[in-house]
């Protein structure tokens, strides 16, 4: 494994996804400063079949990550279901026991539990908590000792910069690449409306057991979610994830994407601005993706950050990894309100 300087050496830390031990190794090899993972249960927002880490695998992952001089964060970023808090408490306990460098939490009760039970454990606020004002972030820092907040994907670059200055010394982390949501982080009910399961409490959006692809007469491919057709594509046309938010519907006399188009966020253009704005970390989405994605995207962003730090800049070419084959800078340079 290539030796890289420890986390503190980079002004903009590259935080990368790992859904499997192999993806974790790929992220470290490709130049991640820190990697985030989840346990194989409903305590994290990528609770997909065959994904994530057993407690034993997580302990080994922490060891490997620390030997490489990087950090490992554990996402426990779903909201405990009433009467089942113990599962989430055990996840926090297991993360502390494994030696994680931070846990990424969204629920206030879980933040309180972590602070009270493991006072030395570093707390990051998940994007699922949707904290986007100085008042909210300061309160969470004062009440629970939150040291970093992952900002929702609704803020412009100017808003991110202002917020970062306002909440210091709390660090800010922003998304740089990957899947987009409808920007109601932690509050989206679309998946549970159709399938009964949501990313907020079950850790899974559009659970695969509810997804069905079918070849229709004429060759079109239809995507169905719990027996409701949410999209139909000509065979060969680019596709997105089979989620309700990226489905196409007829409304007000027109047919199209009612919520959002299947497009990937790519904020690489804004790396110099994010460094100048004091943002501490850049996050790559995609714990559900394979290690080829991790290798490619992490490697490109590593080179882009290093080039930006050195005073130059290079825009990564990542079109093949993008949902729907298209990119957006999202809210960073939005002109709408």
């Amino acid at each position: 494994m290539t030796a890289r300087p420890p986390l503190a050496a980079s002004p903009l830390s590259l935080v990368c996804p790992a859904g499997t031990p192999a993806a974790l190794d790929a992220a470290l090899e490709a130049g991640a400063d820190a990697v985030y993972c989840g346990f194989a249960d409903a305590t994290n927002a990528r609770n997909f079949p065959g994904l994530n880490f057993s407690h034993k695998e997580m302990r080994a992952a922490v060891d490997r990550t620390h030997r490489a001089g990087r950090g490992l964060y554990i996402a426990i970023n779903t909201f405990p279901r009433a009467g089942e808090e113990e599962t989430w408490h055990q996840a926090v306990d297991a993360a502390a026991e494994a030696g994680a460098d931070a846990v990424i939490l969204a629920d206030l009760g879980l933040l309180s539990y972590a602070q009270a039970t493991h006072p030395a454990l570093r707390l990051h606020l998940s994007v699922q908590a949707a904290a986007s004002t100085p008042e909210a972030i300061r309160y969470l820092a004062q009440a629970f000792g939150v040291q970093r907040v992952v900002l929702p994907r609704v803020l412009t670059l100017a808003e991110v910069t202002a917020l970062t200055a306002a909440v210091a010394p709390v660090e800010t982390e922003v998304f740089a690449f990957g899947g987009m949501c409808v920007m109601a982080e932690g509050r989206c009910q679309l998946s549970s409306y159709v399938t009964g399961q949501s990313p907020n409490t079950h850790g899974v959006c559009s659970p695969p057991a509810a997804v069905q692809f079918r070849r229709e007469a004429g060759g079109d491919i239809s995507a169905r979610l719990n027996d409701i057709t949410i999209d139909r594509h000509a065979a060969g046309s680019p596709a997105g994830y089979p989620t309700l938010c990226k489905g196409r519907f007829r409304a007000n006399g027109t047919t199209g994407y009612l919520f959002e188009e299947p497009t990937s966020l790519n904020a690489a253009d804004h790396i110099p601005g994010l460094i100048a704005g004091g943002v501490r970390a850049l996050k790559i989405e995609g714990r559900q993706r394979g290690r080829a994605y991790v290798t490619r995207v992490v490697g490109e962003f590593r080179r882009a950050i290093d080039a930006a730090v050195a005073g130059g800049f290079r825009m990564p070419d990542l079109a093949s990894e993008m949902e729907g084959g298209r990119a957006t800078a999202g809210a960073y340079d939005r002109r709408w309100r």
Binding site: G19, T20, P21, A22, A23, F48, P49, G50, L51, P207, P208, A209, V211, Q212, F213, R214, R215, D220, I221, S222, I228, T229, I230, D231, R232, H233, A234, A235, G236, S237, P238, A239, G240, Y241, G247, R248, F249, R250, A251, T255, G256, L258, P262, Q288, R289, G290, R291, A292, Y293, R296, S320, E321, M322, E323, G324, G325
Partner: protein, 191 residues
């Protein structure tokens, strides 16, 4: 992609004969032995089977990774495939790349090079286990140094031939295709 490519002699009709069946079963057993942790993750599938359909070959494969009767069996063109939980269809080069974790399954899906029908939960379990396994066919299937050399050459040949041809045809097809348009109306959304 249509079945337009001439099959390599190694991978054509004879592959579905008894010798090919033994070869597939040997390869499956060897991968299972060398990647036990990945196959452990697949135990949750029980006896579910997958139909692996290389879109540029006149042969398909029935893969049953776990359960009482695990294995890999070739199915010749025209032969009726046994029931499977899901079907995965892509050019051979893409399937090999997926098996070795050299390409991301979602990226193949987004570009429609990989078509999936059936039990998505089972497919994700398979994909995630395989992606993390670190399979390298030439290293995994070569028994002796001589066998390794022969197997490696055959796999590299197939990978290069189908990968390059498929990549070229894919580019041409994309260049020639009209801009995608919205499909026929879908179900009315009833909030």
């Amino acid at each position: 992609m249509a079945r337009a490519l001439p099959p390599l002699p190694l991978l054509g009709q004879p592959l579905a004969g008894p010798a090919a069946a033994r070869l597939c079963q040997w390869a499956f057993a060897r991968l299972r032995r060398r990647h036990a942790a990945a196959f452990d993750r697949l135990e949750t599938l029980g006896g579910k089977a997958f139909l692996i359909d290389p879109s540029d070959l006149p042969v398909r494969f029935l893969l049953r990774p776990a359960g009482d009767n695990p294995g890999l069996a070739p199915i010749a063109e025209g032969q009726v495939a046994p029931p499977a939980a899901a079907t995965l269809r892509a050019p051979l080069g893409a399937l090999l790349a997926l098996l070795e974790g050299r390409v991301d399954g979602d990226s193949l899906f987004f570009s429609r090079q990989l078509m999936i029908e059936g039990d998505m939960e089972a497919v994700l379990i398979l994909r995630n286990a395989v992606d993390g396994a670190g399979i390298q066919l030439d290293a995994d299937l070569g028994g002796s140094p001589a066998g390794r050399a022969i197997t490696g050459k055959a796999i590299a040949l197939g990978r290069r031939w189908y990968g390059e041809i498929d990549g070229l045809l894919h580019l041409l097809a994309r260049a020639a295709a009209p801009a995608p348009s919205l499909p026929a109306p879908i179900a009315e959304f009833q909030p």
